[in-house]
Amino acid sequence: MSNGNAATAATPILQLSDIHTYYGSIHALKGISLEVHDGEIVTLLGANGAGKSTTLRSINGLNRPRQGHIRFQGRDITSVPAHEIVKRGIAQSPEGRRLFPRMTVIENLEMGAFQRKDRSEIKGDMDRVFELFPRLHERRTQKAGTMSGGEQQMCAIGRALMARPKLLLLDEPSLGLAPIFVERIFDIIKQINEQGTSILLVEQNALMALEAAHRGYVLETGRIVLADSAESLKTNEQVRKTYLGET
């Protein structure tokens, strides 16, 4: 937590200023501004369709904003094509996991490191992913499409880690997982963060997300309606009512 405070003064690693993104003719993001600082876990909360995944797709280049700017480590990446973004240091475990179903776990992990030049260190990184997710090691020669939802989720996170990102975008890492897996995944998210990777986390499970995150933003229909530290959001009455299921 200490480095989270220290970093707030410096330039944020990721900065979105007033971005507007469209899905076809639908105005999905109506001026989103947010920041992720070095070493932070930042969470985006909001109902279905609020624009959480669209925000991630704007950052990774799959759905380019029509207005506004995205800066990563001080450099403008708004119009950088998707396949260049990962080279800059942003990796993603996308919505719906999006593994390569007819490739094995090992091949999927290798794809995560596709753009890396340091071939020799990839093996070591794969061992580290297997350390985080021993289950993946058991399944390493299995086709990704034949694994359970939880295993696929681990593989998707592992694949993103293989890029050695400075910033990790996680979209609904707990979706469809058994409760025991959810706890495990969040432990691992914290562990990854402690090893120095900043994380932008989109999550339906607001309680778990706020437990793990340093700060959070609340989105409603394409706009940010609340931004605060995770501690304050947890005690915020509106958040408690809408996202933590209290009456």
Binding site: P81, R98, F100, M103, F114, A163
Partner: protein, 350 residues
């Protein structure tokens, strides 16, 4: 019926497949009996025709792989592919005779000429195919799937017209340079060098392709793009460049096929690609569209079926019926086993 179907008893579940299976079995058995009879009537003829069928199948395989590669990555049936193959034949004739002065009776001097022509022809067709994708299909990437399909048919006609304008409406002849002397002669079965050369060109190209797709970085990018384009992009794969590359590979295979065909059959005409393309497409579907080994298997089978039909002596339907037979196979496969012989039944279509 509805009440019956809702009860998943063993008998119920096997009822429909068994009728279909029995019919299919009957057709296959009938064909096998006919072949067996032919084998007993004239074994030497049978084996000779089979060897010709394998040679034809090799040429089909090169073309069928192009269909399957492009389908695998874009889910587009590139109807212009057969015409790119036709251009390959035209390029072969132009390069070999006009540039390198190829003519019959040159002995071993043909080897470097054929190799150089092969490389040039593959390159030309590869570049043309990539250009077709860039001009005709890429702008339609986000359009409904019917749009690029119709465009592909349009491109097919355009290329035929280009061939017509370039070489005219008549058959263009290539010099007959592959020696017809026998590689071996066994109990009356003759196997000529001209057939062996076709196989000898095809097999290294096929192995090269397999290596490329399975082992190289570019091949991995191709497989990833075929399975999920967005996911491939966030892995750092340049999806558009990978698609261009795939079209280039498919085109160069068509170029190699064009060389084999034009030097083996020695005639090429502007509309030949369309027909052979449809046959090769059938082969790709038979093996399981999108599946590389499947395309080769399907092509060899179609090549064999065609030459058996045309070449065997005892009560075969003959060449008038070749197209009917080939396209009947296409229809039967699409109805009863749309995933093909080697295809997997997956939600994304294998």
């Amino acid at each position: 019926m509805a009440a019956d179907a809702s009860v998943p008893t063993l008998a119920n579940r096997f009822q429909r497949p068994s009728v279909v299976g029995a019919l299919g079995m009957l057709v296959v058995l009938g064909a096998a009996a006919l072949l067996l009879k032919n084998l007993t009537v004239s074994p030497s003829r049978f084996f000779e025709v089979t060897l010709i069928g394998l040679t034809t199948g090799c040429v089909y395989a090169l073309v069928a792989l192009g269909y399957t590669l492009v389908y695998g990555i874009l889910e587009l049936i590139n109807f212009a592919h057969g015409d790119v193959f036709m251009l390959g034949g035209m390029f072969t004739i132009t390069y070999s005779t006009h540039f390198f002065g190829l003519h019959s009776g040159q002995g071993f001097a043909i080897v470097p000429i054929v190799v150089a022509t092969l490389i040039l022809s593959m390159l030309s067709c590869g570049l043309i195919n990539a250009a077709i994708e860039f001009v005709a299909y890429r702008p339609l990437r986000k359009a409904p799937r019917l749009a690029p399909l119709i465009t592909a048919i349009g491109v097919s006609f355009i290329i035929q017209d280009v061939g017509l304008a370039w070489k005219g409406p008549n058959y263009v002849t290539a010099p007959d340079v592959f020696p017809h002397t026998k590689v071996f002669s066994f109990h009356g079965v003759d196997y000529g060098w001209n057939k062996l050369i076709v196989v000898a060109i095809t097999i290294p190209v096929l192995l090269g392709l397999l290596y490329l797709v399975q082992q190289t970085r570019q091949g991995k990018a191709m497989r990833a793009t075929a399975q999920d384009k967005d996911a491939a992009a966030i892995m750092g794969i340049n999806v558009n460049r990978t698609i261009s590359f795939t079209f280039m590979i498919a085109g160069s295979l068509a170029g190699a096929a064009g060389l084999c065909y034009s030097l083996y059959v020695t005639t090429v005409r502007y509309d030949q690609g369309f027909q052979l393309g449809l046959i090769a497409f059938t082969a790709a579907v038979l093996g399981g569209i999108g599946n590389l080994p499947g395309a080769v298997l399907g092509a060899v089978l179609i090549g064999l079926i065609q030459t058996w039909n045309e070449g065997l002596p005892w009560h075969m339907p003959g060449s008038d019926w070749t197209q009917s037979i080939v396209f009947s196979i296409l229809i039967l496969i699409l109805v009863f086993r749309p995933e093909g012989l080697l295809g997997e039944r997956t939600p994304e279509g294998g």
